[in-house]
Every structure is written in C-alpha cells, then in structure tokens.
Symmetry: C2
Subunit: 111 residues, 2 copies
C-alpha cells in the first residue's frame, strides 16, 4: 500500500487476530489479506520483526509446533498483558478514526 496510514495497524491487527486463536506468522498474513480483500498484504520483512517485538514486550508468547512434515511453524498466542494492550489500542484506534472522520465530514465553508 502506498500510504503512511497503515502505520501502527500491523501490531493492532496481529493482537486482534491472536485474540481469536493462536496463529503462526504466515497464517496471520494470509488471514488478514483474505479478510480485507487484499487491502492489507503484510510483507515478511514487516511481519516477523513486529512479532518479535510483541514477544519481547510480553504481549504474545511463541511456541514452535513439532511437525513431522514440512517447515516448522511458530505459533503465537496472546498473553494477559497482550489482551490489556489490545483493549487500549482498540480504544485508541476508535478515538483516532472518529476524530479523522469528524474533520473530513465537516462541510466546506466556501463557495
């Protein structure tokens, strides 16, 4: 996407997706791409560093899945702190998007 507007939505949506159930990185990207009809197409170079930071901050926890076949998968699940921060960030998103819409929808004064 060719806009700065997506900044900050990556971590927000990862936390939101993990509230549903534990997922691995590739699955998160595929899920969000499908649900947003391609509006969000997370790159590996953004996704994995973001997951590592969320883990470092204690908002998610990771566990490798022992698969007999194929590449190993690292499943992430939301921690208690992650749930708390998610609630705060949903509130922040709501507040910001409402503020933006309020300004955008304000009628013109000229003409």
């Amino acid at each position: 996407m060719d806009t700065e507007l997506i900044k900050g939505t990556l971590a927000l949506l990862i936390l939101s997706l993990l509230k549903r159930r534990p997922m691995y990185g590739y699955e998160l990207a595929a899920t969000v791409k499908q649900e947003t009809d391609g509006a969000f197409d997370w790159k590996a170079g953004s996704l994995y560093p973001c997951l590592h930071k969320l883990e470092k901050d204690g908002l998610v926890r990771a566990a490798w899945e022992g698969r007999p076949e194929g590449r190993q998968r690292k499943y992430y699940h939301l921690t208690r702190d992650g749930e708390t921060v998610l609630a705060e960030r949903i509130q922040a998103w709501s507040s910001i998007s409402q503020a933006v819409n309020r300004v955008l929808e304000n009628p013109h004064e000229h003409e």
Copy 2:
C-alpha cells in the same frame, strides 16, 4: 498522542481543512485541536515541515499576509493537484479504516 496510528493523517487533514478555505499553519493546528477535542494536537515541528513538503509537491500554495500588526502569517490554499490528491487520500483512508474495522469486528472463534 502515544500511537503510530496517526501517521499519515497529518497531511490528509491539512488538505481537507484547506479545502474549506485558505488557512495559516497555527490556525490549522488550533482548528483541528478544537474540532477533535484535543485528540489531534499537532506540534510545530511536525506541522511546518509537512506544509513545506505539501508545497514542494505542488499540493498547496503559500502566500504571506501583509499584516500591519503582529507576526506575519503564511496562508496556504489548495491547488488543483491538491484537490485531486485529497480525493485519492480520502478514498485510501476510507478503504484502510474499513479494512481495520472489518478485522477488529470479526467475532472470536474460541471459547
């Protein structure tokens, strides 16, 4: 604001405010702060560089106001290109905010 979610909204809202009527920088910040109940509190160090970039990109044009009293004011008005880009960015904002809300509002699958 302590979030990355505001990234990109600065230029979008400046263009939107200037669509109403020409304004100067300080006025833009005061207007958006008032209309959003303080949710957006633009700092001079963000605002003026952003205005300079919009001017450099040809989306706004600036003119110093000849005031007999007080500090000079630099009024900005939207150009034709600015109107075009504003329409595109409103569309981008709409697309992104809808995509975010679609993911956030998706019901949990567990429990």
